[in-house]
């Protein structure tokens, strides 16, 4: 055995292996060169006759040759296998443009989607969700909210009343026209601080493209020491940036509600004209009021409401807001629903789009 002999063997093997035409031929070559009785074994056996030093030299060389051949075999095997599988595309052809097999597809209502998203946004800043009756005493719906007996909202053409006897203290039973009945109820729970989000069905005697007699509101109430308009602005900005996008601007505008003082209307910049009030061509934007869209009402909780909830206005202050879920959702760009009532028609062709 000498160096040339080993090299020659290796060269021959490495040149023969790639010529194997199929896996069987490759197998045969592998056995011939590297098998238990293969040629390489013969070389190793001959090593017994060598001196210690030569054994080391030849040992290394033989291992190298063996590895080179094994590598050639492995590479050829991959080539042959791939070749065989190459036909798989033909033998197991399917029409991949056919529709997939879909699992049963369920859909949540658009209002559920909106309520979840709104909840998540407020939960991130430490608000918790509550629920209070939809059918409630006048006391919680109006009287405790600083709405005098003769307030227009309490007339029967604005609010639905239940045909039931009046309670001497708590008044008539009404379908809550807003989620604000949760304010005094939450205050009565005795916990402090209050950071509640109350999302519920509300009812008003209106029905047109932008009003459904049943709709949803979300009410926020934050009461603690030293709560201020600055916090209202902070929370409002957080909501608008999360729900409508970072690029939207906000504005507080003087308004009037009985249960808050100061009261404000919260506006967001119009996404159609970018808050400028004018379209690209210079004409006035028809979607907004001079660049602004009304989102809803808010304000600092009226002291009379705090008192009704047994909270001392000298110690605590708070803000509250109440916005329509549907309106807020419909204001988001992209979703152009022009009649709110479609939400409650339950046409599956509509519901299955969400």
């Amino acid at each position: 055995m000498n160096v040339q002999e080993i090299q020659k063997w290796q060269d021959e093997a490495v040149s023969q292996v790639p010529k194997a035409q199929d896996l069987a031929a490759l197998e045969a070559l592998e056995i011939k060169y590297l098998g238990r009785k293969g040629e390489i074994v013969r070389f190793f056996e001959e090593m017994k006759n060598l001196s210690i030093d030569d054994r080391k030299t030849f040992g290394e060389m033989l291992n190298g040759a063996k590895a080179a051949v094994a590598d050639a075999v492995a590479r050829r095997r991959v080539e042959l296998e791939r070749g065989a599988l190459g036909k798989l595309g033909e033998t197991e052809w399917v029409d991949t443009t056919q529709p997939g097999v879909r699992p049963a597809e369920g859909h949540l209502h658009l209002v559920t989607h909106a309520m979840r998203e709104i909840t998540r946004i407020f939960e991130r800043i430490g608000f918790y969700r509550v629920r209070y009756p939809e059918v409630d005493w006048d006391w919680y719906a109006f009287e405790s909210l600083n709405m005098p007996k003769d307030h227009p909202a309490r007339d029967e053409w604005e609010t639905f009343f239940i045909d039931a006897p009046e309670d001497p203290k708590r008044g008539k039973i009404v379908l809550t026209p807003h989620t604000s009945n949760g304010q005094v109820r939450e205050m009565e729970s005795g916990r402090m601080p209050i950071r509640m989000i109350n999302i519920a069905k509300c009812y008003r005697r209106q029905s047109d493209v932008s009003h459904a007699p049943m709709f949803h509101q979300f009410e926020g109430l934050y009461i603690d020491r030293n709560v201020s308009l600055a916090h209202l602005k902070g929370v409002f900005d957080h909501f608008v940036h999360s729900f409508f996008g970072q690029n939207r601007k906000t504005r507080l505008r003087t308004h009037h509600f009985r249960f808050t003082e100061p009261s404000v209307e919260l506006d967001i910049s119009c996404d159609i004209c970018g808050g400028t009030g004018r379209r690209a061509g210079g004409e006035k934007c028809r979607m907004c009021k001079m660049g602004w869209l009304e989102l809803g009402g808010a304000g600092m909780v009226n002291h009379n409401v705090l008192r009704a909830g047994k909270i001392d206005p000298k110690k605590y202050s708070g803000f509250a807001f109440g916005w329509g879920v549907e309106r807020t959702m419909m204001m988001r760009s992209g979703l152009r629903i022009d009649d709110i009532r479609i939400l409650y028609k339950n046409d599956l062709r509509f519901l299955r789009q969400f």
């Binding site: 209502h109 559920t112 430490g126 009343f161 916990r191 507080l252 003087t254 100061p262 001079m290």
Partner: protein, 804 residues
């Protein structure tokens, strides 16, 4: 409530040089917000004043003429069909390029030089309705606008000639601020917001009148609560005619139609000062003892009045009227009477300026379905102190534009002396509400700019409310708003809440509602939201006969009661969708309502749903049951689905395909198919299975998640199939299987009837899995267990075991 006001009118009372756009933006940030604005002369570009110098007949058209019209230095030739065209007349000429509406209809069309029946026309002589001025200058068909009253040179742009180069703002005024619902009030707000001079001076009452010429008006306040103040003044020798253009122009700008100078004065003063007025024709009032007599009293039973809108109204007790010696002459604060109103022949006028109770006015206007500009203002609550200036102004204007002469002082009756509200104010409270500190001196100045007077009282202040704010300022907290808005909400920094977290747990009902919604969505159900209100008819169709919560004032019969169950609504949804969707699955989570005596109604969260399609072998029932079973398994809910009797009043279920969902022996829900007769009433052609349960009752039985160790030793699997009688319940078979100790799992995988199986019998096949938790089971042991099971099935159920 929105008001339209021309910028020029506001600027009469506040000095500012801001552009309309800047003014609108600044005002909106701190005061009433400007929703929109528009240029008044918009659309009059290219329309000029022309003077007709000669007229010829059109050679080919009888009704057309050719008018030589001067519109500058030279004459133009215009073909015109105007019936009132004459030489020397001043007319509105639309030159090529101007936009006009043909006959006042449709979209504006841009005019071009054109031939009319062969004659070149270099423009158009317009009728008022063709250039949007019909309200200002009403006319007959084919009548062109006669501008001969103008003294401008031909060629002057019409907008300039009519002084229409103004901006109209549409401003939202909140319902608590009727004082700002007028030009003066708006200017007062603007002066405070812009820190600009406020220029309004109240009109002076008429000077002394020789005593022998004074006309007396006796005023009686018979209902002082409903009318706390009444003022009146007599003006004689008035000449009723159209008002001057400057007045008409402003009325038109805000959407009011000019009528006659006297009527226009009442409207003009209302728009200027916010105080509604009324004008009586003094000679048409019934006198008392030879004197004018006006009483503010409640209407008497059976009284009627023919109002200025030409309709007769039945008055009822509680409605306030202004009556002369004999009969109602006006529905107070709402509308005047036709018989005592101002006409062309009126020569003596009594102007009224009064204060009425807001609630009474609102209810009266609503009851009579007669809202007016006047009632709109009164129902918001006006100060008793705003009558004098308005009445004086009316008298002043009557002198100026109708040639009238004051014939009385301003008569005045009031229920009680006026006391301005005073509140104590601690600036620290305002700083706390704003969340930002500002010097007390600044805050004081802001209040003063708004008309409040502020004087020190120890460490705090006493603040006197100006009369025009005596309704809306109710407490010292209201002063926070005045300061905060003038400070500017935009100047307050935004801060997230930085105090203690409110670590209260979410309400469990809300958590479950959300989990269950997600579960049903995942199971392929589509969520619906149906109305909480339903009709009695719907409940009847669904044979749902239980006490219900009735809405006292429903919008319609379709929305008459609060639903006691979701099932009828769900069936309606199926009925509505069935044509487009022959199969489907829906669910809804919502409250249902049940009346309770002396308490709020019971209001509970229910979850209901339906699957529909074909169901020859109860397939739909099993689908509905399956989803409930899966849900119960998901949360380890310890409830049972058991057969039960139909409940009284809820008999819509299919008697053979219905089960109850039971918790602690009580039915808290149902799952089952609907009786075909009920489906027929809904017009549903397919079969429907529903489920419906009380969410909190069910989930109260959810057991905590537990962990079962994975088996250490492999199971031995066997199958068994056997024939039993058709009516042998699965539950009975399961009972027997559960008693076989080594049998760990079993699963029904086939139910077969038909060929090879005797009639009235069915073949069932189960996968079985035997195991022992402590050791590996031998094949022999498993076979022994299997054969003992087979023996039990034979013994207990007479099963014919085919294969084991």
């Amino acid at each position: 409530m929105n008001i339209e006001l021309p910028y020029s009118w506001i600027k009469e009372f506040v000095r500012t040089k801001l552009s309309p756009e800047e003014f609108a933006a600044r005002l909106s940030l701190s005061g009433p917000s400007v929703d929109r604005w528009r240029k008044m002369g918009e659309g009059l570009d290219g329309v000029v004043v022309g003077e007709v110098s000669a007229i010829e007949n059109h050679p080919d058209a009888d009704r057309l003429r050719i008018a030589k019209t001067r519109v500058g230095k030279s004459d133009t030739t215009i073909v015109c069909g105007g019936s009132n065209l004459r030489v020397g007349m001043k007319v509105a000429v639309a030159l090529p390029g101007a936009a006009v509406r043909w006959h006042g209809e449709g979209e504006p069309v841009v005019l071009q030089k054109t031939k009319v029946r062969g004659v070149v026309s270099e423009g158009m002589i317009c009728a008022a309705n063709e250039i949007g001025l019909f309200d200002a200058f009403p006319h007959e068909e084919r009548e062109i606008l006669d501008l001969s009253f103008l003294s401008v040179a031909p060629g002057t742009p019409l907008a300039e000639a009519l002084e229409l180069d103004d901006t109209i703002f549409e401003i939202e005024v909140t319902s608590n601020r009727p004082d700002a619902f007028c030009a003066v009030g708006m200017a007062r707000e603007a002066a405070a917001v812009l820190d600009a001079p406020f220029l309004w001076k109240p009109a002076s009452p008429p000077g002394p009148i020789p005593s022998d010429e004074v006309e007396t008006v006796e005023i009686q306040l018979e209902a002082p609560k409903l009318c706390p103040r009444y003022q009146a003044a007599v003006v004689k020798n008035v000449q009723v005619k159209p008002s001057p253009w400057w007045m008409q122009k402003r009325l038109i700008a805000v959407g009011l139609r000019p009528i006659s100078n006297i009527v226009d004065i009442t409207n003009y003063v209302m728009l200027e000062t916010g105080q509604p007025l009324h004008a009586f024709d003094a000679d048409r009032l019934e006198k008392k003892n030879g004197k004018y007599f006006l009483a503010a009293r409640e209407a008497k039973k059976g009284e009627k009045i023919l109002a200025l809108d030409g309709k007769e109204y039945d008055l009822t007790a509680g409605m306030l009227v202004i009556a002369d010696a004999k009969r109602p002459a006006a529905i107070a604060g709402v509308m005047g009477g036709e018989k005592t109103g101002v006409t062309r022949d009126t020569t003596t006028v009594i102007f009224e300026a009064a204060t009425f109770d807001p609630v009474s006015i609102r209810r009266t206007a609503r009851k009579l379905n007669l809202p007016s500009d006047s009632s709109l203002r009164f129902e918001k609550g006006l100060s008793t102190e705003s009558t004098t200036a308005a009445l004086a102004r009316a008298v002043e204007l009557a002198q100026k534009i109708s040639g009238g002469a004051p014939a009385s002082p301003l008569y005045d009756r009031r229920a009680k002396p006026y006391r301005a509200p005073v509140f104590s104010w601690d600036p620290k409270d305002t700083i706390r509400a704003m969340g930002v500190a500002t010097p007390v001196a600044n805050m004081k100045k802001m209040l003063q700019k708004l008309g409040f007077s502020v004087r020190a009282a120890g460490k705090t202040f006493k603040v006197t409310v100006p009369y025009w704010r005596d309704h809306d300022i109710e407490a010292s907290q209201d002063l926070d708003e005045e300061v905060a808005r003038l400070y500017g909400y935009h100047n307050i920094p935004a801060k997230l809440p930085d105090s203690d977290l409110a670590e209260w747990p979410d309400q469990t009902e809300l958590l479950w509602e959300d989990r269950l919604r997600e579960f049903f969505r995942g199971a392929g159900f589509t969520e619906t939201y149906s109305n909480s209100f339903v009709s009695r008819d719907l409940l009847k169709k669904a044979m749902w006969d239980v006490p219900v919560l009735v809405v006292q004032n429903p919008l319609s019969e379709d929305l008459a009661v609060m639903r006691p169950s979701l099932v009828p609504s769900i069936l309606q949804v199926v009925a509505d969708n069935e044509i487009e969707n022959p199969t489907g699955s829906i669910f809804e989570a919502a409250n249902t309502y049940m009346p309770r005596k002396g308490e709020l109604p019971y209001e509970g969260l229910m979850l209901g749903g339906a699957v529909w399609g074909e169901s020859p072998n109860g397939e739909l029932f099993f689908q509905a049951k399956g989803v409930i079973e899966a849900m119960m398994k998901q949360w380890n809910i310890d409830a049972q689905i058991k057969p039960s009797e139909l409940k009284k009043g809820q008999t819509l279920g299919h008697p053979g395909r219905r089960m109850s969902i039971m918790v602690d022996g009580e039915e808290i829900g149902i799952v089952g198919e609907i009786h075909p007769t009920v489906l027929e009433r809904f017009g549903i052609k397919h079969r429907v299975a529903v489920f419906n349960f009380a969410v909190m009752n069910l989930v109260s039985k959810a057991q905590p998640m537990t962990y079962e160790p994975l088996p250490q030793f492999p199971p031995v699997r066997r199958d068994i199939s056997f024939i039993v009688s058709e009516r042998t319940a699965y539950d009975e078979i399961v009972g027997i299987m559960r008693r076989e100790e080594l049998l760990r799992r079993f699963e029904l995988f086939d139910v077969y009837r038909g060929e090879g199986i005797p009639a009235g019998q069915k073949s069932l096949a189960f996968h079985l899995s035997f195991a022992d938790p402590s050791r590996t089971l031998t094949s022999e042991e498993a076979d022994r267990a299997l054969s003992s099971l087979a023996t039990e099935l034979k013994k207990k159920l007479g099963a014919d075991v085919r294969e084991a």
